[in-house]
C-alpha cells in the first residue's frame, strides 16, 4: 500500500520526494524567535515595499497546559545521555529540568513513567502531509505545480490543508514538527513549510515561528520524465542547465535589489516571486532541500552550490549517499534517507540498509525521513531498522545517534536545532512518552507534548484529535478505544 502510494506519486508525476533548500554561510542560522512571539519571515524594515512588510506570518499560539513532571522513566535526551529512572519537567512550553532527580511545582501533573521511555518530539524533514492529503483524490493533490520546471514562486503553505486526516495519525506516531514540501516534478519546486504538527484551522496557526523556509529542488528522473515531452528538460544535463539558468537570473535580481535596498535610488526594481525565492537562497536565508538519489548527481549539485555560493543543506532520499559520504562530510551537507526503500525506480536501485550507519560513521548529519504518510507514523521504527542494520554489519551506531536521526539532526536540517530536537533545559517542550523502548517494534507513543501541550494521549479520547474530515463516519476508525 505504501509502495503503491509512492509509485502513484512517482509515476504520475505528482511525486513527493525531497525538497531542496539552500544553505547559508551562518551555521545554525539566526536563532528563530521564541514560540510565543509569532514573527514575520523577515523583520519589518519600515520600508514601503511589500517585500519588507510583515507577510504570511505565523499566528501560532502556545496552548496552555499545566506543568508536567514525567518521572521514573528512561530519558533519551539526544544529547549523548540515556538516563535510567530519570525525570523531566515541562512548564510554560519549555523544558525546565532533566535528570535523575527533579523538583516539581505543586501544581504539576505527575506522569508515572515506570517502564516508559521519553524522547524529544520526532521531526520529519520530508513530508507531504497537507499538500498530498488523504483521501488522495485529484482534488487534494496540491504538491506539484507541474506547469514549469522552475516554480520557486510557489509556497507549500498555500497548498497545505490542515484538515488532512493523516495529521492526527502522524501526531499519534510522536511527530511534533514537519517540513511539508512541494513534490519533485520540478527542478525547483517551491518553498517548504516548517510546521508544528498540531490540530489547527489554518496553516498560519501551525507555522513554526521564525523558521526559515526551505526550497525544494529535485534531481534525476522525475523532472526529466515530467518535462521530457513538455519542452524539457529531458535529460540530466538538461536538469543541470535548468538550475544554472535559474540561479544566473537570480544573481542579477539579487544584485538589483541589494543595490536598491542600500541606496533607494529611483523606483524599486520589479518584484519577481520566482527570483525572490532564489535570491533568498543566494543570501543564505533559505535552505536548499534537495531531492537527489544518485551519488554522481549529488556531486554535481554540490558543484552547483559552489558555482553560486550556497551550501545545500540536505540531500533528501539520498539512497546512494553512502557512496560519497566523504564528499558530503567535507561539504557540510546533511542527508535525509529512508531505512530500506529501494527498487521502485532506477535511481533507487542501489539503496542499502546500512546507508544511514555509513553516513553516521563518516560524520555526515543523517536523518531518517518519511516522504510518506504511513512511514511518518513510525520514524522511530525506521531509525531502529537502520541502526541495527548498521550494527549487524559491524558499523557502530549508538542509540543516542539513532534517536538523533529523528530528532536533533532533522532539527539541524531545518535550522531549528537551538530550539528543538533534544531534551535540555530551555528547549521547547516537544516531548514523547513511549510505552517502551522506542526502538522496539512493540512500543507506541502514548503521550505527545507539543510546546508543553498534551496534544495526544493514547489512553484518553479527550486528547486524540480528529480532523473535520473524520467526523460523521460510522463506525469511527482511527484507533479509538473500541476494541
Amino acid at each position: 500500500m505504501r509502495h503503491m502510494w509512492l509509485l502513484l506519486l512517482a509515476v504520475i508525476m505528482t511525486s513527493g520526494c525531497a525538497t531542496g533548500a539552500a544553505r547559508p554561510a551562518r551555521e545554525g542560522g539566526p536563532a528563530p524567535t521564541p514560540a510565543q512571539a509569532p514573527a514575520p519571515t523577515k523583520p519589518a524594515a519600515g520600508e514601503s515595499s511589500s517585500v519588507d512588510r510583515p507577510q504570511y506570518g505565523s499566528t501560532y499560539q502556545r496552548h496552555p497546559n499545566p506543568p508536567v513532571l514525567i518521572r521514573n522513566a528512561t530519558i533519551m535526551t539526544a544529547t549523548g545521555q540515556e538516563i535510567a529512572s530519570g525525570s523531566i519537567l515541562l512548564k510554560d512550553g519549555r523544558i525546565v529540568a532533566v535528570g535523575a532527580k527533579v523538583d516539581a511545582p505543586a501544581d504539576a501533573v505527575v506522569v508515572d513513567g515506570t517502564g516508559k521511555f521519553v524522547t524529544p518530539g520526532l521531526i520529519d524533514e520530508h513530508s507531504h502531509l497537507g499538500v498530498y492529503a488523504a483521501p488522495g483524490t485529484d482534488a487534494e493533490s496540491d504538491g506539484n505545480e507541474a506547469t514549469n520546471p522552475v516554480t520557486a514562486e510557489v509556497w507549500a503553505e498555500h497548498s497545505f490543508w490542515p484538515q488532512d486526516p493523516q495529521i492526527p495519525l502522524a501526531i499519534a506516531g510522536g511527530i511534533t514538527t514537519i517540513q511539508a514540501l512541494p513534490g519533485s516534478a520540478n527542478l525547483i519546486g517551491g518553498r517548504s513549510a516548517i510546521l508544528k504538527l498540531i490540530p489547527a484551522r489554518t496553516v498560519q496557526e501551525m507555522k513554526f515561528p521564525g523558521a526559515r523556509y526551505g526550497l525544494k529542488m529535485a534531481c534525476g528522473e522525475n523532472p526529466k520524465r515530467v518535462y521530457g515531452q513538455k519542452g524539457g528538460p529531458s535529460t540530466r544535463m538538461g536538469n543541470m542547465a535548468g538550475y544554472r539558468g535559474a540561479y544566473i537570473q537570480a544573481e542579477a535580481y539579487r544584485r538589483k535589489w541589494d543595490k536598491w535596498n542600500k541606496d533607494h535610488q529611483g523606483d524599486a526594481p520589479d518584484r519577481n516571486l520566482r527570483l525572490e525565492s532564489l535570491a533568498e537562497v543566494l543570501r543564505g536565508d533559505i535552505y536548499v532541500q534537495n531531492h537527489c538519489y544518485r551519488a554522481d548527481e549529488m556531486a554535481n549539485m554540490l558543484d552547483l552550490g559552489r558555482e553560486f555560493g550556497f551550501r545545500i543543506r540536505s540531500f533528501h532520499h539520498a539512497v546512494e549517499a553512502y557512496k560519497i559520504r566523504d564528499l558530503l562530510a567535507a561539504a557540510g551537507t546533511g542527508a535525509a534517507v529512508w531505512a530500506d526503500w529501494w527498487g521502485f525506480k532506477e535511481e533507487a536501485m542501489d539503496g542499502i540498509k546500512e546507508n544511514a550507519a555509513l553516513l553516521q560513521q563518516a560524520g555526515v548529519r543523517v536523518n531518517i525521513h518519511s516522504d510518506d504518510p504511513s512511514g511518518i507514523q513510525r520514524l522511530n521504527q525506521e531509525a531502529a531498522k537502520a541502526m541495527y542494520a548498521g550494527v549487524r554489519a559491524g558499523i557502530p551506531v549508538t542509540r543516542d545517534q539513532a534517536i538523533r536521526w529523528v530528532t536533533a539532526n532533522p532539527a539541524w536540517a531545518l535550522g531549528l536545532d537551538s530550539l528543538i530536537g533534544t531534551l535540555e533545559p530551555g528547549k521547547i517542550a516537544d516531548v514523547v512518552v513511549w510505552s517502551g523502548d522506542p526502538f522496539s517494534v512493540y512500543s507506541r507513543a502514548i503521550q505527545v507534548y507539543n510546546d508543553g501541550w498534551l496534544v495526544y494521549d493514547r489512553n484518553d479520547p479527550a486528547h486524540q484529535p480528529r480532523t473535520d474530515f473524520q467526523l460523521g463516519q460510522t463506525p469511527a476508525a482511527g484507533g479509538r478505544n473500541d476494541r
Partner: protein, 402 residues
C-alpha cells in the same frame, strides 16, 4: 562450505524451536533430510554424517510466507519493461497465470530471502479479474523449481479500481462478475455448441471462462481484493450465491463485520500497517488484523511492497503492538497463509514430512534487533548474500575497489 551447502542431511541443534503447529520447544533439534523435515524435538538422534548448524540461543521458525506482492514479476517499479503482473486488453483475465512471467534471476529474490521470507504469493494486478496467483519458493534457477502451487486462486479486483473495468460503478462490477460466472457455467454445460459457434456470444473468452470453472466448483479460491465494508459484503454475497471458496485480501474495513466474515469461514489477507484513509476504505485502521483474529477469522499478513517483502516481520510486530497475540502473528505469517493457499500439508510449520523452509534468527523474529543467521529453503542453506550485501562490501571503504 560447498560441501556444506550440498549436504543432504542437516541438523539444526540447540535452538528454541517454534514449530507453529505446536508450542515452542527449548533446546530442540530440527533434522532435515533430502529437502524435508525429518524430525523435530528434543530427543532427535543426529546421524553422524549430518551437517550441523548450532542454534544455541537462537530462535528457529518456519520460513515466513508473504501473501502478497509481485516477486519476480517486477524488477524496477517504474520501468515498464520489467513489469509482468498486469495483462492489458482483457478485463476478465481469469486465464492469465503469472507463473511464466516470473524471473528467477530477479535481484529482489535474494534481498528478500536473506531476511527470512522464503515463500511468497505472486499476484497479478489490475483489471476486474486480474488473473491467477501462484505460490513460489524464493530459490531455484527455473520457474519450475520455484513453483509451490499454481494456480493458488483467481484474483478479483472488487474495489474502487476494479469498477473502472466494469463501466465505472460498483453495481455494474458485481453484475458483470455474475454474468461472467453464469456464462462460465453455461459454457461448461454447452461446450460442444460453443465449439460449433451455436452459442450466443459469451461475456469472456473461452479460456477465461474455462479458468473460472475450478473457482465455481469450489476447487480453487476466489481471492477478492476488497477494502470497503460494502465491497467485502459484495464478495461474501457472491460467495454465497455461487458457493465459492472465498479469500478476502486487503480487507481494510473487514474489522467492522468481523463476525459475519468469521461466520462464513472466510479467511483474510491483511496488511497491518495500512491505515491511510481513502474513499475505498475510510475506516482503515491498525487494529484490523487483531480484531479479525479476535472474532475468529483466519488471518494471514501481507507486505504488499514487493521490494520490501522482507518487512513482513515488521508488519507482524506491529500487528502485535495493535492487539494480536505474538503467537497469532507468527501463525499469520507461516501456517495460516499455508492453509489459506492450500499447501499446509507441505508448508507453514516445522513438522516431520514438511518442506524444510527454516529460518534461524538471533532472537524474536519481529524485533528490529534480530538478524537472520541461517535460511534454508527446501533443505538447502541459502548464502546470506544479495546485490545489496555486495554493494555494502564494495563501499565499506572509500574509494571503492572497482
Amino acid at each position: 562450505m560447498i560441501a556444506f551447502l550440498l549436504a543432504q542431511t542437516i541438523a539444526i541443534t540447540g535452538g528454541t524451536v517454534y514449530p507453529v503447529s505446536g508450542p515452542k520447544v527449548a533446546n530442540a533439534t530440527v533434522l532435515i533430510r533430502d529437502g524435508k523435515i525429518a524430525a523435530v524435538g528434543t530427543g532427535v538422534a543426529v546421524p553422524p554424517d549430518a551437517a550441523r548448524i548450532d542454534a544455541t540461543g537462537k530462535w528457529v521458525t518456519p520460513g515466513l510466507i508473504d501473501g502478497a506482492g509481485q516477486m519476480g514479476l517486477v524488477e524496477i517499479g517504474a520501468v515498464a519493461g520489467t513489469r509482468e503482473a498486469l495483462l492489458k486488453g482483457d478485463t476478465i483475465a481469469a486465464s492469465f497465470n503469472v507463473a511464466e512471467g516470473i524471473n528467477p534471476a530477479s535481484v529482489v529474490i535474494s534481498v528478500t530471502r536473506i531476511e527470512g521470507v522464503t515463500t511468497v504469493l505472486a499476484v497479478p494486478a489490475g483489471n476486474l479479474v486480474s488473473g491467477q496467483a501462484v505460490l513460489i519458493d524464493l530459490a531455484g534457477n527455473t520457474i519450475e523449481e520455484m513453483l509451490v502451487k499454481s494456480p493458488v486462486g483467481v484474483v478479483l479486483n472488487d474495489s474502487e479500481t476494479g469498477k473502472d473495468f466494469a463501466g465505472g460503478s460498483r453495481a455494474a462490477l458485481v453484475e458483470r462478475v455474475r454474468r461472467v460466472f453464469r456464462d462460465a457455467l453455461e459454457y461448461e454445460r454447452r461446450r460442444a455448441e460453443f465449439g460449433r459457434a451455436q452459442l450466443r456470444p459469451l461475456s469472456a473468452s473461452a479460456a477465461d471462462l474455462e479458468a473460472l470453472l475450478p473457482v465455481l466448483h469450489g476447487q480453487e479460491p476466489l481471492i477478492a481484493y476488497a477494502n470497503r465494508r460494502s465491497d467485502i459484503a459484495t464478495a461474501l454475497r457472491l460467495a454465497r450465491e455461487f458457493k465459492l471458496k472465498l479469500v478476502l485480501a486487503g480487507a481494510q474495513e473487514a474489522w467492522q463485520i468481523a463476525g459475519e466474515i468469521a461466520g462464513a469461514s472466510v479467511p483474510a489477507l491483511v496488511e497491518p500497517l495500512d491505515n491511510i484513509p481513502s474513499y475505498d476504505a475510510l475506516g482503515v485502521r491498525y487494529e484490523n488484523a487483531a480484531l479479525l483474529a479476535k472474532a475468529g477469522v483466519k488471518v494471514a499478513l501481507m507486505e504488499t511492497d514487493t521490494h520490501n517483502s522482507r518487512n513482513l516481520r515488521q508488519e507482524a510486530g506491529n500487528a502485535v503492538a495493535y492487539g494480536m497475540s505474538w503467537e497469532q502473528a507468527l501463525r499469520a505469517v507461516t501456517l495460516s497463509p499455508a492453509e489459506i493457499f492450500g499447501v499446509a500439508d507441505r508448508y507453514g510449520s516445522l513438522e516431520a514430512g514438511k518442506v524444510a523452509n527454516v529460518v534461524v534468527w538471533s532472537g524474536d523474529p519481529f524485533e528490529f534487533t534480530t538478524g537472520v543467521e541461517h535460511v534454508l529453503i527446501r533443505g538447502k542453506e541459502i548464502p546470506l548474500k544479495s546485490r545489496q550485501t555486495e554493494l555494502l562490501e564494495r563501499y565499506r571503504k572509500l574509494p571503492p575497489n572497482y
